[in-house]
Amino acid sequence: MYRIRTYPDAAEQIEALSYDALTLYTQVRAVLELVPWNGSPYAEDKPDGNMRQFFFGPSGQGFVIYLILEDQQLVDVLRVVWLDWP
């Protein structure tokens, strides 16, 4: 199981999430602890790249960008975004 560290910017974004979005994010965290490589690679030329992106929410309006430090079994959450658009 991977341990998750959260960058200060992402921690602020998590604090600002609505109750519903935060509930969904807790489910994403559970996925990242177990299978972080299931996220999409962030760079096309690096399909096995450490930087990944995971979308969540009914319309995929939430996403997490994170790094996997495999040798340390760590996941570093860089940003957590919840889009609120009309």
Partner: protein
């Protein structure tokens, strides 16, 4: 059902065809599910995506776009073009959502951590963030 419909006005642009059916239509047909929202940039053109990227990434976008188009021409298969666009639409969405300054900062933080193994100052531990979430969710 009619009263119910009057109490819950529905966008008639999605409704007129259903209303012409027999009165025995099901509730599901009478109250169609709202169309799912489309993410910003979900249908963006290559030019729109390119315009949303930071200049540092435009170079790479141009290179990958040209490469994907060349392969598509050679193989008469657009799969690679679609895949390239899907990835870069996500970059455009992320850039717009974070703003260019924070987007660049995020990339710099990632590069620093991958090079040194060290996260930025103020990084929050697993226990701290779980405590924060527990408090917010009332658990």
């Amino acid at each position: 059902m009619l009263q119910n419909a009057l109490d819950h006005p529905i966008d008639t642009t999605h409704f007129h065809q259903v209303m012409s059916y027999d009165v025995s239509m099901t509730a599901a047909a009478a109250y169609p599910m709202p169309e799912p929202k489309r993410l910003p940039f979900a249908d963006a053109s290559p030019a729109e995506v390119r315009a949303a990227l930071i200049p540092e990434e435009v170079v790479e976008f141009d290179r990958q776009w040209r490469s994907a188009m060349a392969v598509a021409t050679e193989k008469r298969d657009l799969t690679g073009v679609y895949e390239t666009m899907e990835l870069w639409r996500r970059h455009a969405l992320t850039t717009q959502a974070l703003g260019t300054d924070d987007y660049r900062r995020m990339l710099a933080q990632a590069e620093h951590t991958l090079r040194t193994g060290e996260p930025p100052a103020g990084t929050v531990s697993q226990e701290e963030i779980m405590e924060l979430i527990r408090k917010r969710l009332g658990g």
